[in-house]
Assembly symmetry: C2
Homo-oligomer: 140 residues x 2
DNA sequence: GTAACTGCAAAATATTTGCATCCTT
DNA sequence: AAGGATGCAAATATTTTGCAGTTAC
């Protein structure tokens, strides 16, 4: 696993406290984070605006990507694979637990190809499954 | 195709001007609509709040459903199939054109099943594909 | 007539922008 | 030292809530 500083360096971003804190949080978290989660965790004090800008920067660099949701929320997850700026290779399925509301990147489960009607040219596909995760279903 | 009034009646909703206008718009539109689209189209004048409340009601009744997006927008589409309140049977893929930004319900393309890791119990899956639609690619 | 729907006003949230200051390289 | 990043203030935008007046049945 790469260190926070290395990841920032690789993306030609200056190493600042805010970026280190936020990126560490993503590395520690095995799932997705919403803006609100990040603010809450880092209550130590990072300006709300800085969080917005940092997340935006990370998305642009391809360090994190956002996961589609049905409500109006935006959630972000670390790109496990090597994403280049603007070219995410994170074609895996995401799972959102209806009980604990945690989002998990199912890195091993790739988004299947689908056959589209004539005329539609696909470029990228996202798939989100919700249901119950292992932690919320001890009887499994 | 069912009439606006019939759909409302079937869902035990009183038939009001606002609901008729908004539902008509969905029936006319072969794609998805965002709150902003609706307000714009109905500039005739429906209060912004009424639009919010009407969309919420329609979603609860299963008349429309919302489509997951990667940005923070919420877009709604008519449930073509017979959705009962809370039980949507709309397991089809949605396509968002990167050029014209229109969203199309690919009613014929069902969301494929995926095999999840042990412990995860799926309940519902959504799939969104983006790329270029037929209208934006005359050469196709 | 009654219950439900709507519009208006306003509150609560969420997001963006400008600018001066501070930090990284 | 120079460019970029941050914090603060404030402007925008979005969504929710309360309530009184109106409409559908």
């Amino acid at each position: 696993m790469e260190s926070v500083s290395e990841i920032l360096k690789q993306n030609r971003l200056s190493i600042t406290e805010g970026r280190r804190k936020i990126l560490s949080l993503f590395l520690q978290t095995d799932g997705a984070l919403a803006h609100a989660d990040i603010e809450q965790e880092l209550q130590a004090g990072l300006d709300r605006v800085t969080v917005y800008r940092t997340l935006q920067t990370f998305v642009e660099k391809g360090i994190i990507h956002n996961i589609p949701t049905t409500d109006n929320s935006i959630i972000y997850a670390l790109c496990k694979d090597h994403c280049e700026a603007g070219h995410h290779h994170d074609n895996h399925v995401h799972f959102i637990c209806d009980t604990c509301h945690k989002t998990t990147c199912l890195s091993e489960v790739l988004v299947p190809d689908v056959r589209l009607p004539i005329g539609f040219v696909p470029k990228h596909a996202e798939m989100v499954v919700n249901g119950t995760c292992g932690d919320c279903r001890p009887s499994a």
